[in-house]
């Protein structure tokens, strides 16, 4: 039996005993260890290396007529390519940038004004907006219209109306020649 008198705190002592210290440090270390041990489980859910390796898509733009919109796949996502006619470019450039929800001038969203290249995924909840096929509803700004929750994008792919918070995302791409691009 432990003598209770012996385990009493001596005067001037803050109440922490050697045992408390051991329990605390051991417990804290075990906790950190357990937290670290969960990381491999969580990280295993992140994209695997073969998924990450799906890198680039090359597109030949030569056959795309003015006014034509093309959809290609990159990393499993649709890429909208719009060969914009002059009136679409003009409409996109004339917007008062300060009035936009996600202010961005048209010049920052294109490498060449006649070619608009965007990830065709609505920034609200990930649906594919309409407007890239002939006969689609393009919304009131002549750009794209998301049927899921009613987001409306203009001819620069900028959000103008509806719940989406951001403009359609511009993927990394470069012109490999005058009429070809490499996405990714």
């Amino acid at each position: 039996m432990v003598d209770l008198a012996q385990s009493q705190v001596p005067p001037g002592h803050d109440g922490g005993t050697r045992r408390d210290f051991l329990i605390l440090t051991a417990g804290a270390l075990a906790g950190i260890g357990a937290a670290c041990a969960t990381w491999p489980f969580i990280d295993s859910l992140n994209p695997a290396r073969d998924t990450l390796a799906l890198s680039t898509t090359e597109v030949d733009l030569a056959p795309v007529q003015t006014g034509q919109r093309l959809t290609v796949a990159w990393r499993g996502k649709p890429i909208f390519i719009d060969h914009r006619p002059p009136e679409e470019i003009k409409a996109a450039q004339e917007v008062d940038v300060a009035s936009l929800r996600d202010p961005e001038p048209d010049a920052k969203r294109v490498k060449k004004p006649e070619w608009l290249v965007m990830i065709g995924v609505c920034t609200h909840l990930g649906c594919i907006p309409l407007g890239n096929k002939p006969g689609d509803d393009r919304g009131q700004y002549g750009g794209w219209f998301c049927p899921c929750h009613g987001s409306v994008y203009d001819t620069s792919g900028r959000i103008r109306q509806g719940p989406a918070p951001l403009n359609l995302v511009i993927p990394p791409y470069e012109f490999t020649s005058d009429t070809a691009i490499k996405i990714g």
Partner: protein, 429 residues
């Protein structure tokens, strides 16, 4: 099976039962919780839905386990494997249709069960944890049902998965990282399907475990009852068996008839035809709707079309949609009235029915394309939903004057049947 007392002459079977029960008291447990378990004598049919939900859960697990033996969780093969279940596997169509429509029935039953709890104040002292465990079960059910809906890998499966996982992108800073983590890629794809299958198989068993805790909490203080007053002794209760086993069996027969009606005559009533088109990551269907049991949450999500207090509309929609379930955790403390049953609460009685209408309105809004009047109705209904729980519930509990409560369950039951008067007259003579 009842445990035979030691004094009974020992037949072979009863000796075996006694031998086992002495070492592993399963028979005593069943006897205690399912046979003699004292239950209020005045339970009405609203009290059928708890045990009914438990039985449907078992049906879902049994059909699900067998379906999993024929299903292939791979983005290239999943759709065809489901079609094979429908066409080639013996009775595969039956198993799948039971599983599909069983999910709808499960939610219907659980929603009625929850409304019963709200109406009769079953969440009040000392049953707060019982209620909270029930809300946990509902959350697990929503997650399980959503992931199950993704498995056939049709157009609706794919785009439901996309829209719902994208909800997490509303989280500031880390949102997009979390979405990539959920997908295991840059879009919903094969890794997503694999993990959803794994979790869809796991979660029902977690639900079973939480149901076990739910029952443990229930049997600690016993069932609430339509009068909402405590039972005080044997005069207020009857044994669970045979009275409620019989009543529950009758309810089960009715529920199975309803299930059979849909399975055999309208098996795709609750499903969107779009889900019989294989998933296409390049084309979103024109009108995405979730299954009916998730429509109200979806309606709240879409109703927030404006920024508020600096919170962007997208994040606010997600928060309020999730909040519509989270608020239920606090109901035991939001309701300030000490009277449980709405029978004795003249005002609360009405608003609890208005809540039902409100939720049905939200369901309607969720099923319609978001334009014009529907948006307004969605916003009004969302506002009222929160008003009900956050304002009306606490306020009415304070302001309302409840009707007098009966002295006991026993006297109320006898009064209702006119026997108490007779008994009193007899006493006087």
């Amino acid at each position: 099976m009842a445990v035979p007392p030691a004094s009974t002459p020992a037949s072979g079977l009863s000796r075996l039962v006694r031998w086992i029960d002495y070492r592993l008291p399963v028979f005593s447990l069943l006897e205690h919780e399912l046979v003699v378990y004292p239950t209020p004598k005045n339970l009405n049919y609203w009290w059928n839905f708890g045990s009914l939900a438990g039985i449907i859960l078992v049906i879902m697990i049994v059909t699900g386990v067998v379906l999993a033996m024929h299903y292939t969780p791979n983005a290239d093969l999943a759709f065809d494997s489901v079609e094979r279940i429908m066409r080639d596997v013996n009775y595969g169509w039956l198993l799948r249709y039971i599983h599909m429509n069983g999910a709808s029935l499960f939610f219907l039953i659980v929603y009625i069960h929850m409304f019963r709890g709200l109406y009769y104040g079953s969440y009040k002292y000392p049953r707060e944890l019982l209620w909270i465990l029930g809300v946990v079960i509902l959350l697990l059910m929503v997650a399980t049902a959503f992931m199950g809906y993704v498995l056939p890998w049709g157009q609706m499966s794919y785009w439901a998965a996309t829209v719902i996982t994208n909800l997490f992108s509303a989280i500031p800073v880390v949102g997009n990282k979390i979405v990539t983590l959920l997908w295991g890629g840059f879009t919903v794809g094969n890794p997503t399907l694999n993990r959803f299958f794994s979790l869809h198989y796991l979660l029902p068993f977690i639900i079973v475990a939480v149901v076990g805790l739910h029952l443990l909490a229930l049997h600690q203080h016993g069932s609430n009852n339509p009068l909402g007053i405590d039972h005080r002794g044997p005069q207020d209760t009857i044994p669970f068996h045979p009275y409620y086993t019989v009543k529950d069996s009758f309810g089960l027969c009715v529920a199975l008839l309803v299930l059979a009606l849909f399975v055999f005559y309208a098996p795709n009533f609750f499903t969107s035809p779009d889900n019989y088109i294989p998933a296409n990551p390049m084309v979103t269907p024109n009108h995405i709707v979730p299954e009916w049991y998730l429509l109200p949450y979806y309606a709240i999500l879409r109703s927030i079309t404006f920024d508020f207090l600096g919170i962007p509309s997208k994040l606010l929609g997600v928060l309020l949609s999730l909040g519509s379930l989270i608020v239920l955790f606090f109901v035991p403390w939001l309701d300030t009235s000490r009277v449980r049953s709405a029978r004795f609460r003249p005002v609360y009685r009405w608003i609890s029915w208005i809540l039902v209408i409100d939720v049905i309105a939200l369901g309607y809004v969720g099923s319609q394309p978001p334009a014009g009047f529907v948006v307004t109705l969605g916003q009004v209904s969302t506002f009222y939903y929160y008003l009900h729980f956050l304002v009306l519930m606490p306020l009415i509990g304070k302001l309302e004057r409840p009707h007098p409560l009966p002295i006991s369950i026993g006297t109320a039951v006898l009064e209702a049947s006119g026997q108490l008067g007779a008994a009193r007259t007899a006493e006087r003579h």
